[in-house]
């Protein structure tokens, strides 16, 4: 079985500054994989590289065995990878319903169609309704997304990410800024929605990370210093020194 995501010797420079150096990461199919690391370690940059938001300076990224480095984000998305954003990134002037529906359209094969009535597509309507119910926003469907509460927008963010039915999901700090209760709800949501899919998650909240992840990679200064099961990571001295130790200050 080939890996869902395979990052090999990727480097990213901005001018002379090396943000990512010799990054190697492998995520198996169906795995829940967390990426952790101190601020500025390059976690979001890693996501941006994998999702095609920025192109690597060198190295190779594969999705299900196919090289995707250098492709545009929509090309990668069409190959079955979807991501969320750390800063809420929804379609603010459109309603919640339309936000999710737009994310469903490409996957249901309607693409750029200008001859179909979007309200008369049963498949689209069914999937949109399902996802809205999944993320507990069905009752808020006619509200413009910009007017939702912060926690609701985070949930919508996840909804948009999973709506296209991608089998590799990248979530960038999905619980950032949430209260404890909201976090619990979100984690349950993520667990349920990514059932049977590959999940890569960047997270600061260690209870979330250790509760959710099958495997964990630790990123420090643009380099993966350790990768393994939660137990292995807990026991890894390098991690303790470079990351947990540092956080203890």
């Amino acid at each position: 079985m080939s890996a869902a995501i395979e990052v090999q010797a990727v480097e990213k420079r901005f001018g002379n500054v090396r943000i990512i150096q010799d990054l190697n990461l492998s995520v198996a199919k169906g795995e829940r994989h967390a990426v952790i690391g101190p601020n500025g370690a390059g976690k979001s940059t890693t996501f941006n590289l994998i999702s095609g938001h920025i192109a690597p300076t060198s190295g190779e990224i594969r999705l299900n065995g196919e090289v995707i480095s250098g492709l545009r984000p929509f090309e990668i998305n069409r190959r079955g990878l979807s991501r969320s954003f750390q800063v809420t990134n929804v379609f603010a002037r459109m309603t919640v319903w339309e936000n999710v529906r737009c994310a469903v359209l490409w996957a249901t094969g309607h693409r750029y169609a200008f001859w179909k009535n979007v309200d008369e597509l049963p498949e689209v309507r069914r999937r949109t309704a399902e996802i809205l119910e999944d993320i507990h926003l069905f009752h808020r469907r006619d509200i413009p997304a910009g007017l939702l509460t912060y926690a609701e927008q985070r949930e919508l963010e996840i909804g948009i990410t999973i709506a296209g039915g991608a089998d590799v999901i990248l979530l960038d700090e999905p619980t950032a800024g949430m209260s404890h209760a909201e976090t619990e709800r979100a984690v349950a949501l993520i667990r349920r929605l990514t059932e049977g899919r590959t999940l890569v998650i960047v997270e600061h909240d260690m209870s979330v990370v250790f509760g959710l992840a099958d495997r964990i990679s630790v990123l420090v200064y643009g380099r993966v210093i350790a990768s393994g099961t939660p137990e292995e990571i807990r026991g890894n001295p390098k991690v303790k020194e470079a990351y947990l130790g540092e956080e203890a200050h």
Binding site: F74, S82, F91, Y112, F138, H139, I160
Partner: protein
Amino acid sequence: MSDTATSAVDIKAQSRGQNLRFYGIWVIAAIVLIVLPMIFSSGGSLTSFSLIGISIIFALSYNILLGQTGLLSFGHAVHYGLGGFLAIHAMNAVIARGWSIPLPLIPLVGGVGGLAIAIVVGWVITKRAGTVFAMISLGIGELVASSSLILRSVFGGESGVTTNRTDLPQVFGWNFGPQIQIYYLIAFWLMISAIAMYALTRTPLGRICNAVRDNPERVEFIGYDPHVVRYLAYCFAGFFAGIAGGLSAINFEIANSAYLGAVQSGIVLFATFIGGTAYFFGPILGAILVTYLQLGLTSVTTVWQLYFGVIFIGIVMFAPGGIAGLLMMHRPLVRAGSLGLMIPAYLIALVPTVALACGVILAIEIIARQHLPADAQIINLLGIPFSATSPATWLTSVILIVGGYFVARLTWQRIADAWDRATTIARDRGYLA
């Protein structure tokens, strides 16, 4: 609150209801268009209605870009103009070759013209959005307008190309000489185009256009190439602008470089934005208002451009949703039944606000008349003659502006308070988020 069980069925019923209301509105619009010339049958009103009809199509096509895809174009008249030119040449070819293409099909030729140029230039233009798109569209507009004066064999120099619409094959005994027949032709195409453009907003592409407008970056992560979306929107906008241009060519029986120019592009931007870009009917209101102002204001004042500019700045600063936005703000209040709270506040504010406006108009007209001879110094405002040279007029203007402003400010505060109360009620009753 959680009513997940009702889900999809509920949604379906809801959209059925909307559909009924939706067809109703179109039927009413069609009836209005048919009856209108029977009520106002003078030559002047027919001319105005025809022009308004054309500018509605043009403004709606512009809103595909501005309102729906978030593209601010300063060169939309390129499509309008080239559509017009192609229509004129098609008409002349039909006459010369004796083809049996009747006049009512000519606007479609215009549409194809507008579409063709959109297909050619659109790909480059739509590479970028935002400010860069605006500047490139301006550049392309200038380029095409200037080139039209060089390519004389196609564009006929500055006198343009003329035709005679009555020489085309006739249908149902109409020769399309009289304006009333042209009016009905325009009304027909107005209905077709408006329905088509409305339908476009209800398609997957139309919805993705909105998504690109709101957040082009995120669109890339749900599988869409924003460049392709913008390009397709640009092509549709070009097509419908071409139809408007073709109708204009039929109406005036002439096409010339003024069709393509910056003025035409500016007017459609004015109309669309003043009407409101967020709602489908916004550009319709805007086109009616701006065409009316263009026809009417010019015979009342020579500085109509200034009033245009001031109205436009006012809308940008205080009501970026345009007229449609202002109207739709009140919809939750109407539903909640709290609109009644607003009416007295509006009525009270009307008096000082009108006084303020009159003062400003008076001041503008006084300055505008300073270069004119003595006999042109009479300003006729609301039926009252003012002499622009008399200190009494200046004083009136100053009093109206200063007094009007201070009183109006108080009444505006009243409106704001009333608004708070009315929206609170609407929110309590669940009509407002």
